[in-house]
């Protein structure tokens, strides 16, 4: 084991962590505000990658356009899903939306398999980001550095939006107590749509960003889904800061596991989560009585 490897792994953990952050942020605010455990979140992430692929291949061969458009398309699609489908679930016990979003996940995955086949689709790194940058200790791929920057900016943006704007304040208040916000005369259902759209837009963005370094297949979200649950639990349900810190922690744990002893890399995050919850029952920033 050498310092170079450890430092590189730190960066790799950061990459993985940043995808987790984008996904868990959405998962967490959707859960906090809407009370929906979105099992289809990984599938939305996968759809984001496929939308980007479709844009690059069939509409206009430009990665930047896809990076810009795909999250917006996904956000609109998310809004439609919320408006036509998920809206009906809010008054039901949580168990029903588990079943519903699980069904949604199967439908999305199988649709993509039927359209694009089970082998996946090609997605190349954009020409301008091919190659590596000398970081002093190692050559690190440019595209990966770009990913870190984009997710950092997005997380910051979401953070500012939620803490500095009026709408953000309403969302945070709604996450705590949606009935209260409703009572104050704010149209809560429109806020719900917005929150869901935001969450799905972030998942879509994660999908586009991951497409060049991952194999784009209809099952690409399955592995990430369970990991993101771990992130959200460690960070604390419904907590924005928790998702960001949790995502980075889990990314680093997986990266560290690979250095320490690869065979346990898979198990390590679950072990960590279980132990962590024994010490802090509600994760880092979870509040007592919140959706319990």
């Amino acid at each position: 084991m050498n310092a170079q490897l450890v430092l590189t792994q730190l960066f790799n953990g950061l990459i993985l962590g940043s995808i987790y952050v984008l996904l868990s942020l959405g998962l967490s605010i959707i859960f906090g505000m809407l009370g929906v455990i979105n099992f289809a979140h990984g599938a939305f992430y996968m759809l984001g990658a496929y939308v980007a692929y479709t844009i690059v291949t069939y509409v206009f061969p430009n990665f930047w356009l896809a990076l810009f458009l795909a999250p917006i398309i996904m956000a609109l699609f998310g809004a439609a899903c919320e408006f036509f489908l998920l809206r009906r679930l809010y008054k039901l016990p949580i168990i029903y939306n588990v079943l519903f979003t699980f069904g949604l996940m199967l439908v999305f995955q199988d649709s993509m398999r039927m359209i694009f086949g089970s082998m996946g689709v090609p997605f190349n790194t954009p020409e301008s980001l091919v190659g590596a940058v000398n970081l002093g200790f190692t050559y690190y791929p440019t595209y990966r550095l770009f990913m870190i920057i984009v997710t950092a900016l997005c997380s910051l943006g979401v953070w500012l939006f939620l803490t500095r704007t009026r709408l953000g304040a309403i969302i945070r208040a709604g996450t705590d107590n949606s009935a209260m916000v409703d009572a104050l005369g704010i149209n809560i259902s429109r806020i719900f749509t917005l929150v869901f759209a935001l969450g799905i837009g972030l998942a879509g963005l994660a999908g586009v960003l991951a497409a060049p370094i991952q194999n784009v297949t209809h099952l690409m979200g399955m592995d990430f889904l369970i990991d993101c649950f771990v992130v959200v639990v460690i960070g604390g349900m419904g907590s924005i800061a928790g998702s960001i810190i949790g995502g980075l922690i889990v990314g680093q744990i997986i990266a560290a596991g690979i250095i320490i002893w690869p065979p346990i890399a898979n198990t390590l995050i679950y072990l960590f989560m279980a132990t962590f919850l024994l010490i802090r029952p509600r994760g880092l920033f979870g509040r007592e009585g919140f959706h319990e």
Partner: protein, 316 residues
């Protein structure tokens, strides 16, 4: 309506169901599928004790199913070739596993409970995946035989079906006994209002732990029977999708009714098998069905039956 009338009708229904169960392998697509359906019905019933009767959304029941399957298989292959002893071992180990997982997770509530059970189940999965010397890893535990019980030869699928039916029948009797006992009533009281049950003086967590262990026990039996049915133990028996499947069976069938989840298991496995023979997009169709069942009939299959026959009252 007086009580004897209800019991009489119940007896008729029970006999009819049993008759159907006995004849089932003759009209099911194939015998082994009928057995699989029974096994998952048992698993769903065991799960309903936790979800339906106690309100705990466990997402880690694959652990107990898989633990039962592996223990039974390993017992027959390595320890002693007796089906009954192996099934018993599977049940005991699963119950112990449930005791451990339950002890560590039951104090967590809501979504935290759900996800911590999932985390434990994932650990079991990866242990089985890695410990190839014991479990066969990804290839599964291959070649589990079915030694005869006395003079009863279980190699024929038909004989095995009736053996499984007997196991399931006995388990259901015990299950009914549990939910209708004072213990079962207390559980439902806890589910409805935890704080009140606590203030009356019940040790809520202990009640939950006990039912969790009972559920683990029967899940282990289901897993053990699965190992016998397949003649091997697939690694997939510990995968989180198995946990997901049993949750879905419970909801589709109707939670908290004991028989509902069993119906859910029957419906889902039968449908999946039939649809997959006609089209490769079976998971698309299953997904649509799950969504429709939430939007359309939330009481599950049991809810539909009850709506048509209001005479069968909810409580006995």
């Amino acid at each position: 309506m007086n009580e004897t009338a209800i019991s009489g009708r119940k007896l008729i229904v029970a006999s009819a169901v049993l008759l159907l169960a006995v004849l089932f392998p003759h009209f099911a697509p194939y015998t082994a599928l009928a057995s699989e359906i029974l096994i998952f019905a048992l698993f769903a019933m065991a799960y309903d004790l936790v979800l339906g009767y106690s309100g705990m959304l466990s997402f880690g029941h694959a652990a107990f199913f898989g633990l039962g399957a592996y223990t039974t298989g390993i017992f027959i292959l390595r320890v002693y070739p007796s089906i009954l002893a192996a099934l018993l071992a599977g049940m005991v180990i699963s119950a112990l596993g449930a005791c451990l997982v339950g002890f560590l997770s039951i104090r967590r509530r809501g979504i935290y409970f759900t996800l911590i059970t999932l985390a434990f189940a994932q650990m079991f999965y990866f242990i089985a995946f890695k410990w190839t010397g014991l479990t066969g890893g990804d290839d599964g535990l291959q070649g589990v035989p079915r030694p005869s019980i006395g003079s009863l030869d279980l190699t024929s699928e038909m004989t095995l079906y009736y053996f499984i039916l007997l196991c399931v029948f006995l388990s259901v009797l015990i299950g009914i006994r549990v939910v209708n006992s004072p213990f079962g009533k207390t559980l439902q009281a806890i589910r409805e209002n935890r704080d009140r049950a606590m203030s009356i003086g019940y040790n809520v967590d202990r009640f939950k732990l006990i039912v969790f262990v009972i559920s683990g026990l029967f899940s282990g039996l289901a897993g053990g029977l699965y190992a016998l049915l397949l003649n091997f133990v697939p690694l997939g028996s510990l995968h989180w999708t198995i946990s997901g499947e049993v949750v879905i069976m419970s909801i589709v069938g109707g939670m908290g009714t004991l028989f509902g989840p069993m119906l859910g298991a029957i419906g889902i496995i039968l449908l999946e098998d039939i649809i997959s023979n006609f089209t490769d997009c079976w998971s698309f169709i299953m997904g649509l069905l799950f969504m429709a069942s939430v939007l359309g009939f939330r009481g599950g299959i049991m809810g539909i039956i009850r709506r048509k026959k209001p005479a069968v009252s909810r409580t006995s």
